[in-house]
Subunit: 498 residues, 2 copies
């Protein structure tokens, strides 16, 4: 094959992979939004078949030949194609080492496992989920060994979410957080807690708030839409079709507000990826930590800032006149930044949040190392919550069953949240050198902030590795978790008068 033929075959392969991912994404989105409750049977069937097609396409003999030939011709390829081949080869290697039968069996396991988890969570019945979790953990470990028999399996799993990530990097990271945040949380705990802004917030009015927030974030409504789901998430089918979801709680509008701003950060990332990377494997976020850095940047650094609350307060007053009548921006600002040890990760404040993640990180390591059996998870969970946060769940729904990740096979994902938060803090520190962030937020025009992130991160999609993107975003400095600790300490010392 000459170069032109190779490039055309590559484009064809990418198009077909895009179409399958797109279809699978829409099937999932429809399944958790519009589809009738009893429709899982046809959906599971179709998802199984299309996922099988994707496996065959990704690992087929034709793909292997094409990628090998293109690797050989690599120096003569345009930069984009070289990167595509690199990424597709990584996928090929990671996937093809797993026997097709085990791969499909696993897809089935996590599909049923997710359904079982939903029910188990509802009934707070860990026992019914246990056999599926055991199978998922066992398979996750086995696959990691298929992928790299010479490495620590948990490292292999981490590397799947962020190239090069390992426990040798994460252990000191979490140790630092623990060492510095536990005393901070304790000091805050000695101060009086600000009152919450609970009340009654009708869903229809919260929907209007979602619209407003999306506009404020600068999301292009022609390309980005919002829906309602049990668990908020973001998915993107190219930069021209980005979806976020949220969940409305009538007693507390802050929960959906921060879901929207969080998912909005993911959405800005996806909608800012370069046009030339669309419909290829490079047209996505670079890693899960980088993705979370964007969502948590908007959620916390922007969304929980005083300037942001002041900016949106008039809209809150208009939408919820009864609830806001006797409140001031300051009250909402303090309520949005209430620090208190709690049980549910997704509702945790900025300071205790990484400790929630650390619990999961410790447990995953122990599971992979064989130091902990799945059956003993509930006990171990309570013990670590008590140790790090001083609280323990009274039932498994508020404990080990709260997150969907494990049921979907996402072992090793959680560290991305903490790492992303830390990246975001260092981006903020770097950004402030050239951008008047507070001024942008106050004026309601976030474009200087978004442009900064766009130019240094979004636009590149997967063209660059996370490490290279971080160099862009940190002005060439290495990653320094001290920035994160400093950001939290400064912000909350001021807020709580420490």
């Amino acid at each position: 094959m000459d170069i032109m033929e190779m490039l055309s075959s590559l484009e064809d392969l990418e198009n077909r992979l895009f179409a399958l991912r797109h279809a699978l994404g829409v099937l999932n989105l429809d399944g958790v939004t519009a589809a009738p409750k009893g429709s899982s049977r046809p959906r599971e069937k179709t998802v199984g078949i299309l996922a099988g097609e994707e496996y065959r396409l990704r690992c087929g003999e034709g793909t292997r030949r094409l990628l090998e030939e293109m690797e050989e011709a690599s120096p003569r390829l345009p930069a984009r194609a070289r990167r595509q081949v690199h990424e597709l080869m990584r996928d090929f290697t990671r996937t093809s080492c797993i026997p097709m039968a085990e791969y499909t069996e696993y897809a089935r396991t996590v599909s049923i496992g997710s359904d079982v988890w939903h029910e188990s969570k509802e009934k707070s019945d860990f026992a019914s989920f246990l056999p599926w979790l055991e199978k998922i953990v066992e398979t996750g470990r086995r696959f990691a060994l298929y992928r790299d028999s010479g490495s620590d399996p948990y490292d292999t799993v981490l590397d799947g979410y962020e190239k090069g990530l390992s426990r040798s990097q994460l252990d000191p990271f979490f140790a630092l957080l623990r060492e510095r945040l536990v005393p901070l949380i304790r000091a805050i705990g000695e101060k009086p807690a600000p009152p919450a802004v609970r009340g009654f917030y009708p869903v229809e009015d919260q929907k209007r708030l979602t619209e407003y927030l999306m506009d404020l974030l600068g999301l292009d409504r022609q390309r980005c839409a919002a829906a309602e789901t049990e668990h908020p998430f973001t998915d993107a089918f190219s930069r021209w079709d980005v979806r976020i979801t949220t969940h409305y709680h009538t007693e507390d509008m802050l929960l959906s507000l921060y879901s929207v701003v969080h998912e909005g950060g993911h959405a800005l990332y996806e909608s800012g990826i370069g046009e030339d990377l669309q419909f290829t494997c490079l047209g996505r976020g670079s890693s899960m930590s980088i993705h979370e850095s964007q969502s948590r940047f908007y959620e916390n650094i922007i969304g929980r800032s005083e300037a942001f609350i002041r900016r949106i307060f008039p809209v809150l007053s208009e939408l919820f006149p009864g609830e806001m009548r006797s409140r001031f921006p300051e009250d909402v600002y303090r309520a949005a930044n209430l620090v208190t040890p709690s049980l549910i990760r997704t509702q945790a404040d900025e300071v205790t949040y990484p400790l929630h993640v650390m619990v999961r990180y410790d447990l995953e390591k122990a599971l992979f190392d064989g130091d902990l059996r799945c059956a003993d998870l509930p006990g171990a969970w309570s013990e670590l919550y008590r140790k790090y946060l001083g609280v323990a769940p009274s039932c498994d729904r508020e404990g080990v069953l709260q997150d969907s990740h494990w049921s979907g096979g996402m072992l090793g994902y959680f560290p991305s949240y903490a790492l992303g938060s830390a990246y975001a803090a260092q981006m903020f520190e770097t950004m402030k050198k050239t951008v008047d962030v507070e001024g942008a937020v106050s004026s309601g025009d976030l474009s200087p902030v978004t442009s900064w992130l766009r130019e240094r991160i979004h636009i590149y999609g997967r063209m660059l590795d996370p490490k290279e993107l971080l160099l862009n975003a940190f002005d060439g400095a290495p990653f320094d978790p001290e920035c994160y600790v400093r950001y939290l300490t400064d912000k909350y010392s001021a807020l709580y008068g420490l």
Copy 2:
């Protein structure tokens, strides 16, 4: 291959075809409901790729060999497999005679043509749609000749929607309708028209009406969901996942009410197809006319009956207390059956409706016969409306641009609506011999009606040809359009005191 291998290959083929149809259906549904407005680019791409996969699968060499081998082994095959092979072979023949390049080009044409039509309709600008319509008609005619060079191309197109249907059957059918309905409409026109029940009907309350109607129809809400679109339709991804859509007009709740009951009829059909036919080419309605017979049965014969209006009136009063306060069931019944020559087919009453269809039938024949150029359609449209209904549109949006069908390549579809209505009337006449239809409607338990249709039609999917289903549904009698004329004459003579 032995029989078992053949059956297993057949199942595999059917599963893959099902998955593609399912994915394409959900992409379309999402596109017209939840997707952001500017997201057509990725969707068109994915739809193009998946439709190409479907073509390759349907017409591939492997499929041809399998179907031929199975045709040979036909006597030894189980009945269901025999029928599957028959249907798939029909698809194969109809599709594979068209060169792949022309097929994909056509898919592109109707995809863009649909978008152009939407805009042309909005601006009432026929000229911008004309070149696309010309291309669609020319291709439709060319494809018909590929499919059967020895037959009249319009007959070939009709046969695509209902096996064996031809103009030699439709010409006398429409002639009869014209001869008998035009005088009826004229007689009705001399009587005073009942007042409409217009007013202000909030969308949220109409949504509650939709919920109520779906329950009343006996749709299983675990398997059937409703959404909102510009143009109402039904799609089904197996009997376990059926979707209907409606459009709410705040000034007239009857429009959405009858959309829901109409689409509900389609949905009952799809959700009643036998379990053993699911995920195969037999797990769908037998033909478009049969499908429309079910939707128009529920919409008109059930939904526009006096018993139905009396049954739902308390709910209407509860949902729309202001608008219903000074009204009686009789008023709503008469408003729902107001007969008057009008311009828009989808809003036409039961009696003038088939004349709207006849206009389109006449025009399609003339286009296919070369007696009419697309450019002359607006004039010919007005002329026929004046001739059959005594009214003419003042702009193309209310005339030739009103329906989506042609822009989507659905030439020859319209007769299904009139034929379906006539089938429904004869089913009603037959059903009444053993079922107390009025009693069922009055009691709010439609199950005797639905069971009757289920046993004679729904359950069979495509196992039987339309003609065989009609024998079931007419107690062995031949199709007799006089039933339809009689039904309309009796009902409206009583209503208008003729």
